[in-house]
Each structure stands twice: as structure tokens, then as C-alpha cells.
Symmetry: C2
Subunit: 114 residues, 2 copies
């Protein structure tokens, strides 16, 4: 789901904004710092990551906790509502496993027919 | 899913283009003519309906059959691939039933907090 050439880019299903589903997957196994989220999301910009996280916080999907350590840092964690999106993500992954080849074939056929 | 004020407009999940999921639902119980699809989809324009159906045809989700009757007409029908989207639609409806109130509350809270 993260590699640009990943077939799931064909996926006809989008959860939240463009990056929401991938951020949910990154947070599935526990809280992450902002910088840690940048690593697996490759082509995302800091601006877009910050905007997406703010929208997810507004929607009650993640919590944002500030740690006044040295250096201070911020951690993002899935809420129960955010975690509930995993059922939709699993359903769409299942759909992709079963049907993405058919979708890709149909698109190739229609491009060939012009 | 069709009434503009329907809460599922809040739904954080989109299948295909904006209207794809609603068109799949309209075709769930059998083929429909272009004009018949305009009725339940209320605010869709003919141009957008035609574009969405063409994209669905390209993706192998629907077939388009011309009937040279008098007057001639065209019918759209779900393919097996198109019908497979119903599992995702059902999963997202289930998610909405369970979680849409929480999502709406979270958004109301964050708007109140400014």
C-alpha cells in the first residue's frame, strides 16, 4: 500500500483523504511520532501529513499527545474510532486480492480498444 | 445514500468516483436505462452520469447494451466485477451504522473548540 507502483493504487476505494488509510495502517501497532510516519509514507510531504493528521484528529480518529521531554516531541495514536477503519481497510484489501487483476485487465482491454 | 442530507455524505469512504457506489446500488436488482438512473440520483447531471458510466464500463464494472427497438434505448447492467463492489458498500454501510454518530460528534466538538 505504500510503494508507488503498488497495484492497490488502482484500488477503486478511498478511505478519508488520500493518505488516511495508510496512516491508520502505520498506527495500527501503536503510537508514532510525526517523523516516524514520514518514513513509510515515502512521497508524502510534511505539509500534507500535518494536514491529514489534523483532519483525523478533528474527526476523532487519532489523538495527539505532546511530551515535554528533552527534546520535546509529539505522538499520534489511533482512537477506537480510528481503529474501526481497519475493518474497511481489510475489506478493501480483500477486494483487491480477489479483483484487482480483473480491474487491470478491463482497463487494459478498453485502452487497447481506444 | 441518495438524499443530500443523508448522513452517509459524512462517510469517510468513497468507492470509485463520487457517484459510482450509488450507481452500483441502483443496478443491484437488474439492468436500468440511462433515464431510469437519473431519477434516484437526484442532483447528478446527465454529463456526470454519462462520464461515470463510461468509466465504470472501462473498468469492467457495467455492460452497456443498445436495443434497436422503437424508440431505440440503452441499458446498463452490473458485471460480476461490478457486483463485487456491493461487499465494500455493505462494509461501509455497516461502518456508518456503527460509527457515523461518533464521527459527527467528534467534528461538532472540534468545531466548537475552534
Amino acid at each position: 500500500m505504500f510503494a508507488p507502483e503498488c497495484p492497490s493504487r488502482l484500488m477503486p476505494l478511498q478511505i478519508g483523504d488520500k493518505w488516511t488509510a495508510m496512516i491508520v495502517i502505520c498506527l495500527e501497532h501503536g503510537p508514532r511520532r510525526f517523523g516516524e510516519l514520514l518514513v513509510p509514507l515515502r512521497s508524502i510531504t510534511k505539509k500534507v501529513l500535518a494536514e491529514t493528521l489534523r483532519a483525523m484528529e478533528r474527526d476523532g480518529m487519532v489523538t495527539r499527545t505532546e511530551y515535554p521531554a528533552n527534546p520535546p516531541h509529539v505522538e499520534y495514536e489511533l482512537t477506537a474510532l480510528g481503529r474501526s477503519l481497519l475493518t474497511l481497510i481489510d475489506a478493501s484489501r480483500e477486494w483487491c486480492r480477489e479483483h484487482l487483476p480483473e480491474l487491470a485487465e478491463a482497463r487494459a482491454r478498453s485502452s487497447a480498444n481506444g
